[in-house]
Amino acid sequence: DAGITQSPRHKVTETGTPVTLRCHQTENHRYMYWYRQDPGHGLRLIHYSYGVKDTDKGEVSDGYSVSRSKTEDFLLTLESATSSQTSVYFCAISQREVGNSPLHFGNGTRLTVT
């Protein structure tokens, strides 16, 4: 299994509070991704990174920001959490650019915004 650790695994927070989710990899893969998974929507890309300090938006990036200061860490921040951001968040990594390399996923963070 690819070495991907997401933390925390579960979090409950209140509307309006900032939240940071962490993804840590030990594979030295260049590409890292944040997805959210919701019933009826499947997996949707939030942001991705193609190298240290190189990030770009996915299809559902509003309300989220990311940072990648080291190869191994990719942080997802909800600046002011809303109930619509209640979801399961998955980090994924790939060795090469998307389409040329499979995605390896972490085990997810279940976030509840009350």
Partner: protein, 111 residues
């Protein structure tokens, strides 16, 4: 608009039966991947298909990529309770370099 339609959404069958799940689109994909996801875990890659008409086998699982690279199927022979899970297809669309995920087929094999 759902760009990758998976069917059926849910399937519950008895152990030992055969089944097929489908992944269809109007878009052409340069490659298509199938993942399986179990509760509380992330998706795990089963297979990648890249050539139109390609067939790949993984023990009792047979994956096929359509000739036009717009659709794919997963056939399971003699299903077992261990096959239970959410099956996701994901296509890589060349024209905009995006990975598109289907919503998944939730499979439950009854012992």
């Amino acid at each position: 608009t759902q760009l990758l339609e998976q069917s059926p959404q849910f399937l519950s069958i008895q152990e030992g039966e055969n089944l097929t799940v489908y992944c269809n689109s109007s878009s052409v994909f340069s490659s298509l991947q199938w993942y399986r996801q179990e509760p509380g875990e992330g998706p795990v890659l089963l297979v990648t298909v890249v050539t139109g008409g390609e067939v790949k086998k993984l023990k009792r699982l047979t994956f096929q990529f359509g000739d036009a690279r717009k659709d794919s199927s997963l056939h399971i022979t003699a299903a077992q309770p261990g096959d239970t899970g959410l099956y996701l297809c994901a296509g890589h669309r060349n024209r905009d370099d995006k990975i598109i995920f289907g919503k998944g087929t939730r499979l439950h094999i009854l012992p």
